[in-house]
């Protein structure tokens, strides 16, 4: 099977060129992204720091060692086929919010952790963290990862994924068919589709595009540490389209989905590692406000055109949507 990167390279010379995709459940600041970028441009020292942090993404060498492999190893025991569906009920749509910082993940000002990589994708720079009484408390900018949400109606989800290829590589036999939709109060339908997988990552591995039975986020360095560490039954990283009322409003975009243990707490607040509920499951969809930067093997901010207006009139610049009325099945092919 030809690499998705090769296909995209021909179709989208740049910046999607080889496309890899990637990425993680991820993301980061939104509402403040443009302003932050402007601040960074005005501040060469900050730009230099960001550049250095991107270079220091801890898994880059691992990805480099795999991304040109043409005949990757198969999953031990054979391919796993997973289907996840939601046929009725609403969804939780995350709104931009200031993420509280788990000291277990982000350390302390004296001994910070998880700061390397593209801010929001694989790390969080110390200068984007509020400090109070000698502890990191929350992000200074809003991100897709917080406690605020709204409920939207008629959530539908259909995921069919095959995890066949074990590691990152130039080619993959992993497969993906993904479609999800939901409706706002006015009756507008929002939809995300994806069917191309990322054979390899940029700042962290994608396991051929589909991964099963791994821990992601949090302490792992696999995806943003703004999400708690969570056992993930199935995850995918791919490219897809964002639609509103049946029309494509953005794409190709990085699309990441994962079925995990439950990471929300009282009041639907996004928990810390200590708050995870292992015996309850939820599905997370993320269309991250980033695009791949192939040249530097990292990511650059790029708000998503969701078509959904926030109460302040601004467009929601990402989709981070949770589905919790799920039917799940899996088997070895």
């Amino acid at each position: 099977m030809r690499s998705v990167y090769q296909k995209f390279h021909r179709r989208w010379q740049r910046p999607f060129g080889k496309l890899v995709l990637l990425a993680a459940a991820v993301g980061l600041f939104m509402a403040g992204t443009v302003r932050l970028q402007a601040q960074m441009k005005e501040n060469p020292k900050m730009m230099q720091m960001i550049k250095k942090m991107k270079q220091k993404a801890v898994a880059k060498d691992y990805v480099r060692a795999h991304m040109k492999v043409k005949n990757p190893k198969k999953l031990l025991g054979g391919p796993i086929e997973v289907t996840v569906t939601q046929n009725s009920g609403g969804v939780f749509v995350a709104l931009p919010d200031f993420r509280r910082l788990d000291p277990r993940i982000f350390g302390t000002p004296e001994m910070p952790r998880a700061f390397e990589g593209t801010p929001g994708i694989t790390g969080l720079p110390v200068f984007l963290r509020e400090v109070e009484n000698g502890q990191f408390t929350k992000m200074k900018k809003k991100s897709p990862f917080g406690d605020k949400y709204i409920v939207m109606a008629n959530g539908k989800l259909s995921l069919k994924a095959v995890d066949a290829t074990a590691t990152d590589a130039a080619t993959t036999e992993d497969q993906l068919q993904f479609r999800a939709s939901w409706q706002d109060k006015a009756g507008n339908t929002y939809e995300v589709r994806a069917n191309k997988v990322a054979a390899h990552g940029l700042e962290f591995p994608t396991f051929g595009g589909v991964a099963t039975n791994v821990i992601l986020h949090g302490f792992t360095g696999l995806g943003t540490p703004l999400m708690p560490s969570e056992f993930t039954y199935v995850a995918f990283w791919g490219m897809g389209q964002v639609l509103k009322n049946g029309k494509v409003v953005d794409g190709p975009r990085l699309v990441h989905g994962m079925l995990t243990e439950y990471v929300r707490t009282e009041g639907y607040k996004l928990g810390f590692d200590k708050d995870v509920t292992p015996t309850r499951l939820q599905f997370h969809l993320m269309v991250a406000p980033f695009k791949p930067d192939m040249e530097h093997m990292s990511y650059m901010p790029a708000p998503v055109k969701t078509g959904f207006k926030l109460p302040n009139g601004m467009e929601l610049p990402f989709w981070h949507v949770m589905f919790e009325n799920l039917q799940i099945s899996a088997n070895r092919k």
Binding site: G89, G90, V151, Y262, R264, E266, T277, E324, N325
Partner: protein, 135 residues
């Protein structure tokens, strides 16, 4: 004149009967047969706690856009502190309730019942019914 008075009196009695029949259940007093609890988009049972008498029925209505459950079964709880059944009481579970769906349960054993919504237990969607002995 007498006919009009009779008509007015009949209409008044009919209205009183209809209102009395349709009135929402009153908690704590045990005056009404059916007590009503709603299930919300903010992941709450409303009211979260209520007191009834043995023999009364509780009706839960899903007024949210989400799918919820009313589950009082220790085997299905993620955390033991979210569920309680008096000795001799049978576990119950509504199964998935789509928006606008209702579920009724009549309580025949006095005691404290703690219940939860399976998908949102971890997000704090838990409730309590205290069932007092019959008068």
């Amino acid at each position: 004149m007498k006919k009009i008075a009779l008509f007015v009196l009949s209409a008044l009695m009919l209205w009183v009967a209809v209102v009395a029949f349709a009135a929402p259940g009153k908690s704590k007093t045990g005056h009404s047969k059916v007590v009503h609890i709603t299930m919300t988009n903010t992941l709450k049972f409303n009211p979260a706690s209520d007191t009834i008498r043995v023999g009364q029925t509780v009706e839960w209505r899903n007024t949210s856009l989400l799918v919820h459950t009313v589950t009082c079964d220790p085997k299905k709880a993620a955390k033991p502190e979210h569920v309680a059944l008096p000795e001799g009481a049978e576990p119950f579970d509504s199964g998935n309730m789509d928006p606008d769906a209702t579920f009724r349960h009549t309580f025949t054993v006095p005691g404290v019942y703690k219940y939860f919504c399976i998908p949102h237990e971890a997000a704090g969607m838990v409730g309590e019914i205290v069932v007092l002995p019959a008068k």
